[in-house]
Amino acid sequence: MISSLLRIIAIGRITLTEAVRQKVLNVLLIFSIVLVGSSVAVSQLATPGLDSAGLFDAQIKFVKDFGCGAIGLFGFFIALLSTAQLIPQELHNRTIYTILAKPVRRSEFLLGKFLGIVLLLALSVALMSLAFAATLYWQEIEGIHATTAAYDGTPNWRANPTAVNSYNHDVQLVITQVRDPQIIEAVLLIFAKLVMTISIALLISTFATSSIFTIITTFFIYLIGHMESTAREFWLAHGADASIWQTSLVGLISLLVPDMNSFTIVDEILAGNKVPWHHALSLLGYADVYIIVLLAVSIIIFDYREI
């Protein structure tokens, strides 16, 4: 058991090292960090300074949207591109033969590869989140500064207890918005969704003959995953009118394709709505179950693959 785990870790480490040393991914990561950071400049153009109610609300919300969007988008590219080329590259370099001819199970090889890409993704999301946190902190300073400047427009406002209370309230609002622990919840959900994407791509790459096939197929499954809940709702609403074929098709898709749309709960968090942790945890549990199922199927297919 321990020796098996050590083999998986050794393969995971080499996969991570290989991915980190690929220039394309590094460029992608640097670009995403710059983009997250530059969201401040973009937000100032889109929603400059305080809003009509004298609050910094819109600008912070914009930075949150932009940051989480960039993490999700670039994370998706990093996850998809690096997973799609895992097995084809191993076959091209013939390293797969040398590894599988050693006392290594095929399942250990696949799990090691999965571990490596998940670590790469975790590293990328952590770096992007760091840039995101720094940007938000900068927004906090900017927000407090803008609020103070707005109050300074009224002479001797500090002598007026009502104005001071109002000022403290506005500043507290900026701080609460920036240091919202729900952002961690959002980033975790984005990460879980990306790990699901890796699992789908890994499953396809176990029988795909090229990385392009894996990329395109995973992308379509990702899209279907986003649309299936709409189809399901429609089916539930018009259940009586639907033919047996329509019912079976929607049922089959619901079973085979993970419901990616349920992760749009992130938008709710970003909109400032409270999403309880137990809801986020149940979604993370759903992702875990799907990932385990996808990995199990990948291992079965890869066990029979002739290399």
């Binding site: 020796s3 050590l6 083999r7 050794a10 393969i11 080499i14 090292t17 290989e18 040393r21 091209h92 370099n93 013939r94 390293t95 033969y97 040398t98 590894i99 599988l100 001819a101 050693k102 006392p103 290594v104 199970r105 095929r106 399942s107 066990d303 002739e306 290399i307």
Partner: protein, 305 residues
Amino acid sequence: MMESSAPVAAPFAAETVGLTKRYPLTWKRKVLVALDRLDLQVRPGEVFGLLGPNGSGKSTTIKLLLGLITPSEGEARIFGLPPESLEARRRVGFLPENPYFYGFLNGDETLRFYGKICGVTGAKLEKKIEDLIELVGLQNGRERPLRSYSKGMLQRIGLAQALIHDPDLLFLDEPTAGVDPLGSSQIRDLILQLKKMGKTVIFSSHLLEQVQEVADRVAIFSLGKKVLEGSLESLLTQNEGTQINLSADVSPEQQARLVDALKQAGIEGGAEAIRFTRPHLSLEQLYLRTVQTQADPRAKNPPVQ
């Protein structure tokens, strides 16, 4: 892939019985027979050469013996064990044809990785790396990334990784493909050294002279079938005629006296029955002697003119 029970003492390092591999070509409604009913037995400690043109079934045989692909029919055993079992894998090492490995790792890192996945760790692994680097002569490649390696160096690091867990049986698929004659002769010497260490080596090649120099037995493949098998001695000895080798130069007068002496010994057959020729070097031998002398200024033998 299940771990099998304890290994049973087996007389053969590798054995196949009616081993067949067919690939269905669905779109052509045909079946490609890559390997047809192969019966093969390789004894422990033997150097066994698989010969044949491209596509004759050599690599398929190796992949089947390594459990990388499954046979359509028949059976393969490694020391009496199923090839896909971890027990069998612990006893085999493999160098694939034209390997690239991980270009971003250096020589030491590569061996460390392969050691770890074989369960070799700590001081034992470091000692093994030292020994193997010395064995394959890659002291200059320890810190260099593999992407900067020459083909010969890649083959040598490939040999080292195949040996990292001290296997009893080595599969080398075209170990000298694309390697210059000097590098190729170094690999040949390594195979002989492995034999001295008691390893069984099964290798494929289409460089016949090289096979002749290292293999104890060979099997010749053609179109997926084994067409000939045996020891080099039995396969290459011609039963007609006798060859006498003289290291001295023989003048025409001495040749005439030798012919008379042979006739007195009762060996007749006309003028064409006895021929005098000068021994020839093969081009490879000539090249190697020249290059090796050039490479080592302390060499005592002058280059062949």
